[in-house]
Subunit: 237 residues, 2 copies
């Protein structure tokens, strides 16, 4: 497989970075090609803006998704975005490794999505979910957090973490057509002993060694929705 | 009231910007003080990084939240962050106006939260929700999107939009102690006629004129959780 790891942690020696390095080692050991987009190391631009387009269709009024679509067709996207799009296109499996910031991605990773998941390639009109641009590829989210598991479950104080990540898991990765694997969460990281972190690294390694059997998240199927994306009436009985 | 509007849209003439301008006019007309943080106009730095701290406690290993806490105490946060913290501290009502990017905030606004909602001021330890640093202030989210309402409701193709925004509504604003008002959503904006946009502006104006009676979202109360933030057993009968 071709694998792309997109990594977003500001500290090189962090546990999140250790999870990323472990993935590189294990996956290369299995014979896979592994590319890494280390967003902090490359000082990736987080903010989607007019300057992402060398040659705008409408210089008077910015509709970001429309300019994406045109810039893809005319190859006038900024070079950093072009490079990342190519990396995603080449991969069979996309892995995102990041610490949870405010129950979602650090802004630098959100910006990678805002800028790289361009209209016309990743999605467009009804080309979403099982009709999305990335159909045939898998995606895996690996997140570290300070909270304990009981705080981020259904009925816990903050509610279910997978639900909190729905904008990413379903609204972004699933939407673009990726088959989304069950995410990996490392809880309470800054507060646990080294042995507990070692155990989490081993769990992560075991997951990667058995990635083919990792469960996937259910996503909508376009066949169940009409041309306005309203649910089709179901025949009963 | 002192009101802070944090605005994140790359196009000055966008409908989202019109909603922001309408809010400024209506709220000033009511006699309120209104400050605006226009993140695109001020080229706000989105990425939380080591360079946010002039004088690190631990230059060898970055724990962002710990450095936030120390920098607040020593007044060594970068000037843009200090300014935004002061603006939030001064306000009674915080309004966020932004277009939905991938079912959440544009990265520039996520970065405003990552960098400005500092540990030790907005939250800390068990100082969250009704014990959070921003208790006594209100927050209102105003979001524009391309999708139609039926696509982002319970049972719709993408699921409930308020649920998608839970990382912001509960996990950020509620977590920090804000009383979170029912959000305002403007649907299908790029595709509707001018008259429909005018109607949405009027709905927004009516909301603002009656902001005191806007419903609020339920949030956890710390009294219901023990010292590990696990739910306390409830006495029944």
């Amino acid at each position: 497989m071709n694998i792309l790891i997109v990594h977003a942690h500001p500290e090189l020696k962090s546990f999140t970075s250790a999870l990323k390095s472990e993935a590189v080692e294990v996956l290369r050991g299995l014979g896979h090609q592994v590319e890494i987009s280390d967003l902090y190391a490359s000082d990736f631009v987080a903010t989607a803006s007019a300057s992402d387009f060398a040659d705008r269709t409408n210089p008077e009024y910015l509709v970001y998704a429309l300019e994406q679509r045109n810039a893809v067709a005319r190859h006038t996207l900024s070079a950093d975005i072009e490079r990342e799009i190519e990396r995603v296109k080449q991969c069979d499996l996309l892995i995102l490794t990041f610490p949870l910031f405010w129950f979602s991605m650090p802004a630098i990773l959100k910006g990678w999505i805002d800028r790289v998941f361009v209209s016309g390639v990743f999605y467009g009109g009804r080309r979403i979910y099982d009709q999305g641009g990335m159909v045939g590829k898998k995606a895996l989210v690996c997140t570290t957090l300070g909270g304990r598991e009981h705080m981020v479950t259904e009925g816990g104080i903050h509610g279910d973490l997978k639900g909190m990540l729905r904008p990413l898991l379903q609204g972004t990765l699933g939407y673009a057509g990726f088959e989304v694997l069950e995410p990996f969460f490392a809880y309470h990281v800054p507060y646990v002993e080294q042995s507990a972190r070692q155990k989490m690294l081993e769990d992560w390694k075991a997951l990667l060694l058995n990635i083919d059997s990792r469960a996937t998240l259910a996503m909508p199927s376009l066949a169940d929705y009409d041309e306005t994306l309203a649910p089709r009436a179901k025949l009963v009985g």
